[in-house]
């Protein structure tokens, strides 16, 4: 019966079947290609993303290194500039400022400073000294110091008086004994 069916198949029917088979194969091929393309696209995207992340990481590392490098160089440059400035200032101080000051010293001592002092001293006497004295008088440390000094002075005076009186005791006794010894044989 099957043989009959295959043997009795008419050419148009065979052609249709072949067409369908071809179409199916084509569709299959399209599907396979589509899946393959999708997979390929996915791989490409993943790799692209990984590449982009790697590039980003490398970029940041490079930026950090560059930053460190720039900072180190800047510090070195700043240190060098500082040393140079210090040396220059010392040099200027040694050679210029001191000479200027030396040359100005007589003028400062003989004319400017006395004028300033004469001008300022009355104000200091009137405004500053009373305040300073009041502060010192109110300061507990100063009061304690004065009290301690007074006590020290008093105790020194007492010690000296005791020493002097003890010495005088001995001297008076020595004199009396000498007098008694001299008078002894005469009497």
């Amino acid at each position: 019966m099957q043989r009959e069916d295959s043997g009795d198949e008419t050419p148009p029917a065979r052609a249709t079947r072949l067409l369908a088979a071809g179409l199916g194969a084509a569709l299959q091929a399209v599907e396979v290609l589509t899946e393959f393309g999708a997979e390929a696209a996915r791989v490409v995207i993943d790799r692209s993303r990984a590449t982009a992340e790697e590039a980003d990481r490398r970029y940041h590392q490079a930026a950090e290194r560059g930053d460190l490098l720039i900072r180190g160089v800047a510090e070195k440059v700043a240190g060098g500039a500082d040393r140079v400035a210090g040396t220059a200032a010392a040099w200027a101080d040694r050679l210029i400022v001191r000479r200027v000051a030396e040359s100005m010293k007589p003028y400062l001592i003989e004319e400017l400073v006395p004028e300033v002092v004469d001008g300022v001293l009355p104000k200091i006497r009137a405004d500053v000294v009373p305040v300073v004295i009041e502060d010192l008088a109110d300061d507990e440390r100063i009061q304690d110091l004065v009290a301690a000094q007074s006590m020290d002075l008093l105790s020194r005076g007492v010690a000296e008086a005791r020493h002097a009186s003890a010495d005088a005791d001995d001297r008076v006794e020595a004199v009396v004994r000498r007098l008694l010894r001299r008078r002894g044989p005469e009497e």
Partner: protein, 150 residues
């Protein structure tokens, strides 16, 4: 030519006060007592008088009696309690019994009373200090006391 010799010190002698020290201490006490007696005897009635016009008789008499008793009380309490007067405090001397014990109430009172009553004899007896090994005055010998340095 007279050579000045340093005073000869006898061993153990320095712990007792000599004639000069005792007279100086006594002088200091006398000055303080004079001031205090005048302040009590005349100052109190005068103060009262400046407030009220005139001080009552009882106050004047009381102030005079207090001024008279002040030296006795002063010496008595000074020798009895701390063993030294203010003059003794300045010159660093203290009255003790010969065995080193504090002077008692009776002995201190007797010492003060006799000293004030017979002051000239008391002072004359001080001469004995230059001869006694423990620098005792006549009244010290009589009452069994010594005057030590502290």
């Amino acid at each position: 030519m007279t050579a000045t010799h340093p005073p000869v010190r006898r061993p153990g002698h320095d712990q007792y006060a000599g004639l000069v020290t005792r007279l100086l201490a006594l002088s200091a006490d006398a000055v303080m007592l004079l001031i205090a007696s005048v302040a009590v005897g005349f100052g109190v009635p005068a103060l009262w008088g400046s407030v009220e016009g005139s001080a009552p008789v009882w106050l004047k008499d009381g102030a005079h009696v207090a001024a008279g008793l002040l030296p006795l009380l002063y010496f008595w309490l000074s020798w009895c309690v701390p063993g030294q007067t203010l003059g003794g405090l300045v010159f660093g001397i203290v009255v003790r019994r010969t065995d080193g014990a504090p002077v008692g109430v009776v002995r201190a009172g007797t010492r003060a009373f006799l000293g004030l009553l017979f002051a000239p004899i008391w002072l004359a007896g001080m001469i004995v200090t230059v001869l006694d090994p423990r620098r005792r005055a006549a009244h010290d010998l009589l009452l069994g006391t010594v005057v030590r340095r502290v």
